[in-house]
Amino acid sequence: MTAARTTAHSVVEPSALSKWIAGVLVVAYAVITMVPLAWILMTGFKTPPDSISYPPKVVFGPSLEGYCNLFTTRTRQTKEYIEALGPPTTTCDTITRNRDMVIAGRSNYLPRFINSLIIAFGSTFCAVALGVLAAYGFSLFKVPFADDLLFFILSTRMMPPIAVAIPIYLMYRDLGLSDTALGMILLYTAVNVSLAVWLLKGFIDEIPREYEEAAMIDGYTRLQAFWKVVLPQAATGIAATAIFCLIFAWNEYAFAVLLTSGTAQTAPPFIPTIIGEGGMDWPAVGGGTTLFLIPILVFTILLRKHLLRGITFGAVRK
């Protein structure tokens, strides 16, 4: 099979012209598709008036005001009051005072971002740990009703999140898990474990059984063989799976908006509520969005080889 893949198209090469046209079209599409993202990045460095100017400003003097606003709360004060405060101590102080305002305190962005980190990494760790064990269990041994169990695991992802949230809301209320990081970690783990089992089973199935058997002939127990042979062999697969779980938990909005209100709220439900004195504070939103997206960009690049497998639950492999 591997041979067939490498020889595909080896004889029927597209012509130079068709390659050129294809290249131009694809690059054009890629550039267009990047425009909204570029705009997010740019908006983060605009001043609020620049961000809502008409026509939209492509060239502008960069400013850190958006990022200052993202991390602080500010109150409007009289000029006399501001002068009485003494000289500004930080860049953000200066920027804020130029708008007749003073920094009153820190915004909730950082705590929400930290919540996102805790919940995403916590649930990823749990989902991958459970997933590796279950996948190995299914892979190792003919479990009765394995097919049905695996199908059941997958089907749990077909429910609309709002539908799932109704009973979870009631259950968490009775258990005192509402608006807690633990509750969110449990929920995301449950959602991610189906993906993890399916992906990891594929990866573990690919490891030649002989390695494990050889280790056991050398005197390892099954558990030792799993720990010392299977896990290291599956490391790449585990890493790829972990990143997929992480991305889901990082991006998730519906559960977060319904089941958290403050203490455990993550960034996605928070970012759309960053307002200025009137409506949305777009530079701050742009900054908050940029910071929130950067980890995902990094992971996408790391993952690009395994993307296909992840998004199809392992149904398509390359």
């Binding site: 067939a4 893949r5 080896s10 029927v12 390659k19 290249g23 694809v26 599409y29 890629a30 598709t33 990047m34 909204p36 705009w39 961000s51 939209p56 459970l130 997933g131 064990l133 279950a134 269990g137 892979s139 190792l140 041994f141 169990l149 997958l154 089907s155 077909m158 429910m159 609309p160 709002i162 539908a163 109704i166 009973p167 979870i168 809301y169 259950m171 449950a190 474990v193 399916w198 059984r209 058997e213 056991m216 127990t221 099954r222 558990l223 991006n251 909005y253 519906a254 970012i271 939103v285 969005t289 995902i296 690049i301 690009r304 998004i311 199809t312 392992g314 149904a315 398509v316 492999r317």
Partner: protein, 318 residues
Amino acid sequence: MSDVRTTGMADRAVLATPPSMARRVRGLSDRAIAWLFIAPTMLLLLAINIFPLIWTIQLSFTNYRANRTAEAKYVGFDNYVAILTKSDVWEAMQATAHFVIWTIVLQTVIGFALAYLIDRKFRGHGFWTTVILIPMMLSPAVVGNFWKFLYQPQIGLFNYIISFFTGIPPSSFEMLGSVSLAPWAIIIVDTWMWTPYVMLICLAGLRSIPGYIYEAAEVDRASPWRQFWSITLPMALPFIMLAVLFRGIENFKMFDMVNLLTGGGPGSTTEVASITLKREAFEKWRTGYSSAFAIILFVTVFGLANIYVKALNRVKQR
């Protein structure tokens, strides 16, 4: 050659692994290990998926409200009858269908075209493929929120770009506020995000076609046009269908992006099923009623997916 497992959902093929040849009863038996490893996942899914599902079914026959202290009363099938006879629900279903169908059509056409172009293997196609893939990895909520800004008449970039190319004044149309444009506004954003997804799967499909088939066609002097219709498309079809299946299920559940872009408005033009459900369940707190709605949605998506998988298998067997 790539290994397509489109049947994973239906016949859950070849999941069994050969029983271990050198089974050793040192410590735990393999059977015990398998169950020990699978059990935690199953317990978690029982607690967070199955138990809530049963609870939802039970609630769906009551008039329970999660914000009241009154005891729930058993109301039989009243909730189901009320939902299936309510015109608002059918309007929501129509809005959902419009959204699902058009996003699938657009994403399939553009996604396949992109995959076909990328498969010409022009220089740097690997890099540009990764660039194109970025939007689908991002949080639909956070990015959807930013698209609201892009869609602002006057200050938004989208209207300005349209105006730049067509001469239509940017403030003369409202992507999110007009009844005729709002359904398309959400389709555009979804297409922007998820076309790469379809593209990636289609690309795997194209790369799975062995080169010798084209060579044989060249020998027969089949025109490129004929080659496309009689080789490329039929052979990539199972992959396209898989992409359509996943996109269909995902968009049937759509909540976050639409909720942030339009909130279902103007009026109820873009009120997809999940938004209706959220309003009933978490704003009006008609828990019994919305549980029935949740069950109906679940049965619908499950039923559609099963019908689709059957059709998919028939195509594959052809």
